[in-house]
Amino acid sequence: MKKIVVGISGRIASGKGTVCKYILETYHADKKCSSDPLRATLDIFSVPQTRENLDALSTFVRSTYSEDIIAKAMGTFLAQSPNPIVIFDGMRRLVDVEAIRGFEHSLFIFVDADQNIRYERSIKRNENIGDDTMTSGEFFAKDTDEPQQQIEALKQYADVVLHNDGSTDELMLQIHEHIDSALAPFVTT
């Protein structure tokens, strides 16, 4: 079976979710996130999967064993998926790019959008508590912190950069043009 790993990255409220949802639904793809190995570990011990518990484990394994240990575990999780199309959702670090490049076939999609547009979207969707009342200053501060800068630095490695400054329809046109053609060879009939 031919298998492709699709990495998705992008800044806050860039439209990663829309792209991910499209691939999941259109191609019946599988999806893995960096928190999956952490969740699987907490599950062994019946530890509640709170942000705090996940962060503690993430920090511990990276500082004790190796910085790329979670990305490597992700590589294993992605390899174990029986699906010919498997998504690595929310890639944040260079080691994540290395993890998908370890596969024979990979497609790295970076979703890009203007900061002001992303700020408006973030307020509107209110994904996390307090997002709707965030000032533009607060958003810009959060949007330029260290983890977000690491995400921005991944853009140069992307196979496809989707520009999501307009409507959903405009994003869909780009998806059809760049993604559908790349994934077509991996569709099983």
């Binding site: 570990t41 907490l42 011990f45 530890v47 511990f60 064993y65 575990a73």
Partner: protein, 187 residues
């Protein structure tokens, strides 16, 4: 019913004969087998962490300090609750906290294996289950015997329903074990 399941916990210091007891109960009485350390190995395998002593210790210390000293007891209980076997033997009990989610089970029996330190040292050397065991001096063995992962084992003796001595032949020892278990297991 959960409370009808017979659960036999085995405790003892290094090379006291725990493994032999667990294996005997497993094969002779068709008991399911759970080891406290299997959950650490499962977690290590998720991240491909080599099963080396220093890695085992660092992960164990982190998990207990961060998520509660009873974290392994919880993992064992979760596994126990998912099993349907009538009898389960549990090895690798080291601390009071390991018993937290076991001692409330209706049919839990804790057996402590007692064995002289000199005899255990010789046994550990000849069994040589881990690299370096064979060349270990008595002083090194004693140090290992009282390190962070082993120094709480002896304290569990007071919680045990039975203390079995294992300083003689394995045959006599297992015979004694069978006599002891006869009160719990009707064959």
């Amino acid at each position: 019913m959960q409370s009808e399941k017979l659960i036999i916990g085995i405790v003892g210091k290094i090379a006291s004969g725990k493994g032999m007891v667990a294996e005997h109960i497993h094969s002779r009485y068709k008991a399911d087998f759970i080891d406290f350390s299997q959950f650490l190995y499962q977690a290590m395998d998720i991240f491909s962490i080599p099963h080396e002593r220093k890695n085992i210790n660092s992960l164990s210390i982190f998990l207990r300090a961060t998520y509660g000293q009873d974290v392994f007891s919880r993992a064992v209980r979760k596994t126990l609750d998912a099993r349907t076997e009538e009898r389960v033997v549990i090895a690798g009990i080291r601390r009071d906290e390991d018993l937290v989610h076991l001692s409330d089970l209706g049919n839990f029996v804790l057996v402590y294996i007692e064995s002289d330190v000199r005899i255990r040292y010789e046994r550990n050397r000849s069994a040589a289950r881990k690299p370096g065991d064979h060349a270990m001096t008595f002083e090194e063995f004693s140090a290992k015997d009282s390190d962070e992962s082993n120094n709480t084992i002896e304290g569990l003796k007071s919680h045990a329903q039975h203390v079995l001595e294992n300083n003689g032949s394995p045959e006599d020892f297992l015979k004694g074990l069978d006599v002891l278990l006869a009160q719990y297991i009707k064959e």
